[in-house]
């Protein structure tokens, strides 16, 4: 058995949430459209004579994403035509970017390691095919609401070293897209699409393997993690038996817990890329880029670092609380208020993450803080009163007491709970614990 090392790079597509589409003025809202084909025009339908005009906002947002991922920006860039036939592609080519992507050479830090970003480019989404049976006939229908919606593609170097790393990378990327407020990343609807190129090499080797498997059409981070893990096993098995896994696209079947072949690529496709003559090249100045850079909001990494210094929040709690931008903003308000009222923000973080208090995102910070404060407040109950209740509890649960005596100390928690319940008040747990311990000793002596 050879020890293998994962070689994995990712290609992630995300739809930008600009008001209008990438190359025409149609509304960009494919997932909420009341009917198919209502957000269409001669341009996104690919009618004769329809011409694209690039959405400036989408270009700016892509650069923003690039800067957030520490990319360099090409000051000269352009759009290219990627020629291929598919019924969801009305022009017979997709407007994309080939040799001059807007952004290149960046990186994204994750807790499992840095992932280098090779390139980020901007392109248009395709229409959506629906295969249905209408009047007993099998038909394929085309919905152009999604045609020409702006789509960014983020391509990494093969730096991902484990399935959980793949998941962490995808999650961090989505978090950044959401913090920038440029994409909703609705995974279910296909607003964010994950692809992983997976292969294995013998541990210690540095050369890229001679093959790669493409994991595609996977719509959750968890599935991606599982699929990469499965592929590692499957490919290791093939390599162990002297075979080279074939070049193919594979999907994930969660019910079976395995990947399955979707399409075998025999030859590399020739897309006959060439600069789109309908779109003038893009020129930017350093000032343009600096301006976009200065408008970047605080990003998750910066936010977590600031929380660490300003509020002493542990990274594991910060990770959870910054996952969604809305949550982070809400929590920030509570932390700020906590500081003014001499409550430790760390206590608030703990209470929120461990769900010790029953609150919802958006609740007034004062309400949340009151709940946190209440957690640590106790009613004044005498030792005698508690002891009385403990005695009742022990009497009612002789079997448990026996178990405890026999060394099964886990039952202590149950006795704690029962006592607190019977007291019906908020009592300092330390006090209850001490009283139970005393009574148990006494119980033992009585015997």
């Amino acid at each position: 058995m050879t020890a293998y090392q994962l070689v994995c790079g990712m290609e992630v597509h995300a739809e930008l949430k600009t008001a209008s589409k990438m190359f025409c003025g149609c509304k960009n809202d494919p997932f909420h459209a009341a009917q198919p084909n209502i957000y269409t025009c001669p341009v996104c339908l690919g009618m004769p004579g329809g011409l694209p005009v690039a959405n400036k906002k989408a270009i700016e947002w892509t650069i923003k994403l690039g800067l957030a991922l520490n990319c360099k920006i090409h000051l000269f860039s352009h759009f290219d035509r990627k020629n291929y036939f598919y019924p969801d592609l009305p022009k017979g080519y997709q407007i994309s970017q080939y040799d001059q992507p807007l952004c290149y050479d960046g990186n994204l830090e994750t807790e499992y390691g840095t992932v280098r970003i090779r390139r980020i480019h901007l392109e248009e989404d395709t229409a959506k095919l629906q295969h249905k049976t209408v009047n007993g006939k099998q038909v394929s229908l085309i919905d152009f609401n999604r045609s020409s919606v702006p789509l960014v593609e983020v391509v990494t170097e093969p730096d991902i070293i484990s399935p959980v790393h793949a998941k962490a990378y995808c999650k961090s990327l989505r978090q950044i897209l959401r913090f920038l407020d440029i994409a909703d990343c609705d995974m279910e609807q296909g607003g964010m699409r994950l692809e992983a190129n997976v292969s294995l090499r013998s541990a210690g080797q540095t050369e890229l393997p001679s093959y790669k498997t493409e994991l595609k059409n996977i719509n959750s981070f968890r599935f991606m993690e599982k699929a990469v893990a499965y592929e590692m096993e499957r490919q290791a098995h093939e390599l162990d038996t002297g075979q080279t896994p074939i070049q193919e696209t594979r999907g994930w079947n969660d019910a079976k817990g395995e990947t399955f072949s979707q399409r075998v690529k025999e030859d590399a496709e020739d897309y006959r890329y060439f600069p789109d003559p309908d779109l003038p090249p893009l020129h930017f100045t350093e000032e343009d880029i600096n301006k976009i850079d200065s408008e970047l909001p605080e990003l998750p990494a910066q936010l977590k670092a600031r929380w660490r210094t300003a509020y002493d929040i542990e990274p594991k709690y910060a990770e959870v609380l910054t996952e969604e931008k809305e949550t982070a903003e809400w929590v920030e308000h509570i932390f700020a208020l906590a500081k003014t009222q001499h409550v430790l923000p760390a206590t608030v973080a703990n209470a929120l993450v461990n769900k010790k208090i029953a609150v919802q995102i958006g609740d007034a910070p004062s309400t949340v803080l009151a709940a946190v404060v209440q957690l640590s407040q106790t009613d004044d109950v005498s030792d005698a009163q508690i002891s009385e209740v403990v005695q009742i509890v022990l009497a009612e649960n002789p079997a448990l007491v026996e178990q405890y005596m026999a060394g099964k100390t886990q039952v202590f928690g149950f006795l704690m709970g029962q006592t607190q319940k019977k007291l019906g008040k908020k009592v300092n747990p330390q006090q209850v614990r001490a009283m139970i311990e005393i009574q148990l000793q006494l119980y033992n002596h009585k015997k």
């Binding site: 009618m47 011409l51 690039a54 020629n83 019924p87 017979g92 006959r272 060439f274 003559p277």
Partner: protein
């Protein structure tokens, strides 16, 4: 016949109530009937009289305009002369036809062209060839052959064509009309069936230079729907009509091309009028236009192979088997020149040579205000001539292709008439980008001081 009036005269007479829209259209209908055999129109607008009556208070007062059938026209069938689009009725107007309608022009019909504008003869049309009204045994040229023939036969007052490399000027030369190809980006391409996107350019085909200027005034200008249209402000092109050309330096190019010896004898004497009008004329050496044929062939085929991909049979009714031989040939060649391993030696190399042509014209325009040449290396060819040669159009357009691939404006004016065949030669007048006005001034001066314009010299018609 009233339809034999120029655009300028028609408008004048309509304003002065010397003629009515009804009379004008009655004569036009009669001519359309008489000349049906020329096969000028693919589709006629049967509502033309009604449409015209609605345009009383507009600049163009409802005058009949012919439009090449590669402009999308709302509710009027648009085929690009290919049966692939046999049933295509656009729901939208091209920017140019929208502006034309807004100005009060009435689109009376869609004129024949080489299918998808691929050609210089109108013989590749899948709706039959158009005949040259000057001599029906000859071709009208192309690809805007229908529009040039419509003007020559007075089957409209003025027309719109489009040029990718010669398609306005070459048929104008062969039909003895004026054809103005504006600077690339001066007139919007939105809604014009794309052929070679990097050179496509709509423009007027008219009876006089003055008419071309007037029509250009109403169709030119920036269009938010065309990213390649220029924000440079447009001139009042009619202001250039009648302007003096005194002191202009005119460079004569492409006279030493092999095979032009006979034509040289007919063309050269025509240049004298420029000197008489105070301009300086001299011969200039330009880059060999043969090389432009290669550049254009590769660039155009490459873009065509991509632009025609949308006619994949899923929409518009008719599938790819409806493409004609010429379109198929161009798609195959363009697919090849863009393919991996070949794009460098064909497409990219062509683009580099294209840059050399741009530089060469820049050099020439440092010395000359205007460049002139023959438009076409010969008189209109006989019908059937294009069928023998796959490179027919490229060779016929050789003298215009350098200025097309570099985006320069140019205007064709008739510069010789052969009384035996009734056929014309055309002169191509070129200026630097955005200087259409200067080309118009020179062309107008030439037209007014020579006997070659059929409408200014009635006895010839």
């Amino acid at each position: 016949m009233l339809n034999s009036l120029t655009l300028t005269d028609t408008l004048q007479k309509l304003k002065n109530k010397e003629l009515s829209i009804a009379e004008l259209y009655a004569d036009l209908r009669a001519s359309l009937k008489v000349h049906a055999d020329l096969n000028v129109y693919v589709t006629l607008n049967e509502q033309m009289e009604n449409d015209a009556e609605q345009q009383a208070n507009t600049p163009f007062l409802g005058v009949p305009i012919a439009v090449k059938d590669n402009f999308c026209t709302q509710n009027l069938r648009t085929t690009a002369s290919s049966t692939v689009l046999d049933n295509f009725i656009p729901q939208f107007d091209s920017t140019v036809t929208k502006r034309l309608k807004k100005a009060g022009g009435v689109i009376i019909g869609k004129t024949n062209l080489d299918a998808w504008a691929h050609g210089s003869s109108t013989e590749t049309s899948q709706y039959g060839r158009t005949l040259n009204p000057r001599n029906p045994e000859h071709l009208p040229g192309g690809s805007s052959g229908g529009s040039a023939a419509a003007v020559a036969a007075d089957l409209c007052i003025a027309a719109l064509g489009s040029e990718t490399a010669g398609s306005i000027r070459q048929p104008s030369a062969w039909c003895g009309t004026v054809g103005l190809k504006p600077t690339y980006g001066r007139v919007s391409r939105y809604g014009v069936v794309s052929m070679a996107s990097s050179t496509d350019c709509p423009g007027p085909i008219t009876k006089t230079v003055e008419d071309a200027a007037l029509l250009l005034n109403h169709i030119a200008g920036n269009d938010p729907y065309d990213a390649t249209s220029s924000p440079t402000p447009i001139d009042d092109y009619t202001a250039a009509v009648g302007a003096s050309i005194k002191g202009l330096k005119i460079g004569v190019i492409y006279m030493d091309i092999e095979g032009l010896a006979t034509l040289k004898g007919l063309f050269e004497p025509q240049l004298k009028v420029f000197e008489e009008l105070g301009a300086h004329v001299e011969y200039a050496q330009a880059m060999d236009p043969h090389q432009a044929v290669g550049v254009y062939t590769v660039v155009q085929r490459s873009e065509v192979s991509s632009n025609l991909a949308r006619y994949d049979g899923i929409r518009y009714g008719n599938d790819r088997s409806f493409f004609g031989t010429e379109a198929k040939r161009r798609i195959m060649l363009g697919t090849y020149t863009l393919s991996k391993g070949y794009a460098d030696q064909y497409y990219l190399l062509a683009q580099k040579v294209r840059t050399l042509f741009i530089e060469d014209y820049k050099r020439l325009f440092r010395t000359y205000d205007v460049l002139v040449s023959l438009t076409s290396p010969g008189f209109a060819k006989k019908i059937g001539a294009s069928e023998a040669s796959a490179m027919f159009g490229e060779l016929e357009d050789m003298l215009i292709e350098p200025s097309s691939i570099t985006g320069l404006p140019g205007i064709n004016v008739p510069c010789y008439h052969d009384s035996t065949t009734n056929l014309y030669l055309g002169m191509n007048i070129m200026t630097p980008m955005w200087h259409e006005s200067r080309a118009i001034s020179v062309a107008d001066a030439f037209e007014k001081h020579t006997p070659w314009n059929a409408w200014r010299n009635r006895k010839r018609v």
